[in-house]
């Protein structure tokens, strides 16, 4: 008894000490919280609210369509409703909720205490919230976007969509996408670099594989739409003609940019949901998943192949048959990895001893619905069939079978599964089963019959239809089904609300799960784990049933907290061997203020008050620079670690910041490639492309500017090499020298631009070049600022041979900026010369 008491005292004492460092503030200061558990829950709750709003919009549309020739909703409002329904469900619900779930779970599953860039998580959340509120405000004001969730041009240009409606979409969604890309970077680096000791790639929970691929897909998939939105907003606000045929643009370019994002988006949503399935099925089948490696193969290949399908959304725009066939084939091939997963799940069920708790109901519902969605997807991949049902309700039915079956059902399965983890209480079995059956029956009643509505020829996005077309009955059935489904969702909601008060206590690991997130308290503490266990296995909770106790008693690694730092392991991305201790930042106002400044910028651009926009840009820049200044790098005396432990990450060259920078540059590179794609596409395909006879930019000043940039890049590279060799003499002076050369490069560059004959509002040719020049200048300018900041930090002692981390982080930025310059030089200066002489 005495031993038990002493053990409890030790646990409580450790808990109190950890809470002093990791605890969350209350009141207004709760806005400063950066902890992944809180941020993840905020994402999920906010996304859940937007799901209800999106559902309400759907109910309004189903009411209007229930009977023919109704005028409950006027056409203009109906246009806004279907546009906002799609936009809300895709951008404000599906992606953020899944990101939130991933943010909540990933550190717990990989045995870490937090995500690797906690302030970025918080910043992402605030960007998401403010962007969503800006977008939703348009609905309240009656000026919501009305061009469909994919905003096709020319419908959305200034001529056909005057007023701010489209601008709300372009600016709001771009703002929200900053959040998505932040999460993508955050999750990628966290999974690769913060797994607990010994968790090699082959031991990673499958959910982490799914999230890793999803995060990388966000990194590569979102930038084309960000670019498209920027270009369309520039066309609307400034008159730069990227999509205007008369001035050398092409509206089809928008479709390419949108669907380069839009099709991977479907898999960005599907993969985490499939990850939930692969996590839950083994638990309820009470045996390990069948075919772990096959599933990993399927996840990776789904991620890749999904980028080769985008044109199947554009089969009717007039692309050559052979090109269509390439995309048609890729669309069918993506069924292979999906099939692999499906068979692995069925085999797991077949060979296990399944128990049908509530989460399993939703999983079985998923298998049924998603299979139908997959089959109609293969039908739509066939070009002749696609032409027949294009823009009919068949496509609406298919989309909902894929999205609801492939995302909502697994999400609700996951919600019920992890509910005890969120709250420490169990849901009501009876209410939960009512919720499932009502939703399942309602969904199929709504959308199964909608395939028929499509076959009967009813186009989508029409606010009413005439009687006698044969569409009355299927529409009425769909509307009744929609309301049944709404009742089901209401039942689920009621169950969740009531369980916080009436649910029985869940205890620890109530489902007998195998993954590490169940080794935390339920609900979890902000620090997740008192000590971080070795985990060279796939099923830690099955192999070591006492893990929760030994972790809480501090028997594993990194259980010291007297230094007052927030710490987690930094590990090798392949083997999971420990490399360094990652020192994480604490709560901060900076993410909130930075997002607030950016939202002011967003509103200023919406209202076209450019002086205010300029102030917001400066404020954002200052806040973000301040953020980079306060970055957990301390002077030597404050960086001591326990003997035998690896160094703090700031004492290394290969810390998480470097990985964050590289992944950020991958996203940046995707954006740049999308610009180059636009340039080449317009040049080759635009029906009215207008290139001047002489080059608009003088090549010699540009060449001089490029040489200066290259010199600065090499010099920076040289400094990093010297630091690696342990030499930091004259470091500050050298950094100032690099900054000065970089500044000279910028000045020559600006001079070359100002002396050019470019008129960005005249032709698409000049407009695209102007965008490329702006992109270059932004990167060059930032390289100079970052290097100057480094020089100042050397003076303070934050950077040097003992703390070389930051300079190594800035190095890839210089290399990237240099590569962008020469590629742009090739595309804008050299290629047209070669073209003209050919």
């Amino acid at each position: 008894m005495n031993t038990n008491n002493e053990t409890r005292k030790t646990r409580d004492a450790l808990h109190d000490e950890f809470l002093k460092v990791w605890g969350n503030p209350r009141g207004w200061h709760a806005l400063t919280i950066v902890n992944h558990t809180t941020v993840g829950i905020r994402f999920m709750v906010t996304g859940g609210i937007f799901f209800l709003i999106g559902g309400l919009l759907a109910m309004l549309m189903r009411t209007q369509l229930a009977l023919p020739e109704q005028d409950i909703i006027e056409p203009k409002l109906y246009d806004q409703l279907f546009t906002m329904h799609g936009t809300v469900m895709m951008f404000l619900f599906a992606v953020p909720v899944l990101e939130g779930l991933a943010m909540y779970l990933i550190p717990k599953m990989i045995g870490a205490r937090d995500l690797v860039f906690p302030r970025l998580s918080a910043f992402g959340y605030w960007c998401y919230l403010f962007g969503s509120l800006i977008l939703m405000s348009s609905l309240v004001l009656g000026i919501a976007p009305a061009g469909g969730w994919f905003m096709y041009t020319p419908l959305t240009n200034n001529v056909y969509s005057p007023g701010p409606n489209v601008d709300f979409w372009l600016l709001g969604v771009t703002f929200i996408e900053i959040s998505a890309v932040s999460a993508g970077i955050e999750l990628t680096v966290s999974i690769l670099r913060t797994r607990t000791s010994g968790m090699a790639l082959l031991h990673m929970p499958l959910f982490c594989w799914y999230i890793l691929v999803m995060a990388l897909m966000i990194v590569f998939g979102f930038p084309p739409l960000i670019l498209g939105s920027i270009l369309l907003e520039l066309e609307r606000a400034v008159g730069m003609p990227f999509f205007d045929v008369a001035r050398g643009g092409d509206p089809i370019l928008w479709q390419h940019l949108f669907w380069l994002f839009g099709h991977p988006e479907v898999y960005i949503i599907f993969l985490p949901a499939a990850g939930i399935v692969s996590t839950l099925l083994p638990v309820f089948s009470r045996q390990p998943i069948v075919g772990y490696r096959w599933i990993v193969l399927a996840i990776i290949s789904t991620g890749f192949i999904s980028f080769g399908l985008w044109v199947h959304h554009m089969f009717t725009v007039g692309i050559p048959q052979l090109a269509q066939a390439f995309f048609s084939m890729a669309s069918m091939l993506v069924a292979i990895p999906t099939g692999i997963q499906l068979f692995a799940w069925l085999a797991t069920l077949w060979t296990g001893r399944p128990v049908y708790h509530v989460p399993m109901l939703w999983l079985v519902g998923f298998l049924f619905i998603f299979m139908i969605g997959g089959l109609t997807g293969v039908m739509l991949a066939l070009v002749p069939f696609n032409w027949q049902v294009h823009d009919t309700h068949f496509v609406v039915a298919h989309l909902h079978y894929v999205m609801v079956g492939g995302m909502l059902f697994p999400l609700l399965a996951g919600l019920y599964y992890w509910l005890p983890h969120f709250s420490g209480r169990m849901p009501s079995d009876k209410l939960a089963r009512w919720g499932f059956w009502l939703t399942f029956v309602g969904f199929n009643t709504t959308f199964l019959v909608m395939h028929l509505t499509g076959f009967l020829g009813m186009p989508r996005r029409v606010y009413t239809y005439q009687a006698g077309m044969g569409w009355e009955l299927p529409n009425s059935v769909s509307s009744v089904g929609g309301f049944i489904m709404a009742m089901g969702i209401a039942m689920v909601l009621l169950d969740i609300v009531l369980h916080f008060r009436f649910g029985r206590p869940a205890g620890s690991n109530p489902w007998g799960a195998d993954t590490l997130e169940w080794a935390t308290d339920t609900p979890p503490q902000p620090y997740n784990f008192i000590s971080l266990p070795d985990c060279p296995m796939r099923h830690p909770m099955w192999d070591q049933p006492d893990l929760q106790t030994t972790i809480a008693e501090g028997h594993h690694g990194l259980s010291e907290i007297d230094h007052g730092r927030r710490e987690t392991w930094g590990s090798d991305p392949v083997s999971g061997a420990i490399r360094e201790i990652i020192h994480l930042p604490g709560n901060s106002w900076l993410p909130f203020y930075s997002a607030l400044a950016l939202s002011v910028l967003c509103i200023s651009l919406l209202t076209r008050t450019y002086s205010m926009a300029l102030i917001a840009v400066v404020a954002s820049l200052l806040l973000l620079l301040s953020w980079s200044w306060k970055n957990c790098v301390y002077l030597e005396a404050d960086s001591a670690v326990k003997p035998g432990y690896p160094p703090l990450h700031s004492r290394t060259f290969n810390g998480p910041g470097l990985w964050g920078m590289v992944v950020t540059l991958l996203a940046d590179g995707a954006l740049f490639l999308a610009i180059l794609f636009g340039w080449l596409y317009l040049r080759v395909v635009a029906p009215n492309w207008q290139a001047p006879d002489t080059a608009p930019l003088a090549w010699l000043p540009l060449l001089i500017s490029g040489v200066l940039l290259t010199v600065a890049t090499f010099w920076h590279h040289f400094i990093v090499r010297r630091l690696r060799a342990g030499r930091d003499d004259h470091l500050q002076g050298q950094l100032w020298g690099i900054a000065v050369i970089g500044l000279a490069h910028c000045c020559v560059f600006i001079w070359a631009w100002s002396a050019s004959s470019l008129v960005a509002t005249q032709t698409a040719h000049d407009a695209v070049i102007a965008v490329i020049l702006m992109y270059q200048l932004f990167h060059s300018g930032l390289a100079v600022i970052m290097t100057a900041l480094q020089a100042k930090r050397v003076a303070y002692g934050y950077v040097g041979k003992t703390a070389p981390y930051e300079i190594a982080v800035v190095k890839p930025w210089w290399i990237y900026t240099n590569a962008v310059f020469w590629l742009s030089f090739l595309a804008v200066i050299m290629l047209p010369i070669a073209w003209r002489s050919a």
């Binding site: 490696r293 193969l297 990776i300 290949s301 890749f304 050559p320 052979l322 390439f326 084939m329 395909v685």
Partner: protein, 117 residues
């Protein structure tokens, strides 16, 4: 070729496929814009021949890599990290093979359809 145990093997085969896919699509658009062959030639054009031969070459490369990875996974390595190495090589074989199947499937279509219609 990079080591069969290098983590890049988890993506290499499909990176090669997607790069070839983009090149092939871009080349098709460019060729059809600049030098379109007569429609009556059907699928037997220099454009189709170029795309098909390119696809076959990329497929052969990917199959060669898949075979290397598969053999490495079966033999295993003597290093301390043999388990992870075998895992990577085995998966790499699958990724390269899938890349080859995808490349060839898309390439064979060039036998069936005229390029610029």
């Amino acid at each position: 070729m990079i080591s069969t145990y290098h983590p890049m093997q988890l993506t290499l085969g499909l990176i090669v496929w997607i790069v070839w896919f983009i090149v092939k699509y871009g080349a098709l658009v460019l060729f059809c814009e600049q030098l379109p062959p007569p429609v009556e030639q059907g699928a037997f054009t220099w454009i189709n021949a170029t795309l098909l031969s390119g696809s076959v070459a990329v497929t052969a490369l990917l199959l060669f890599w898949a075979n290397n990875c598969w053999r490495a996974a079966r033999i295993g390595s003597n290093e301390a990290d043999s388990e992870i190495n075998t895992f990577i090589a085995g998966l790499g074989a699958g990724i390269n093979l899938l890349g080859a199947v995808t490349t060839l499937s898309q390439g064979l279509i060039s036998l069936l359809l005229p390029p610029c219609l």
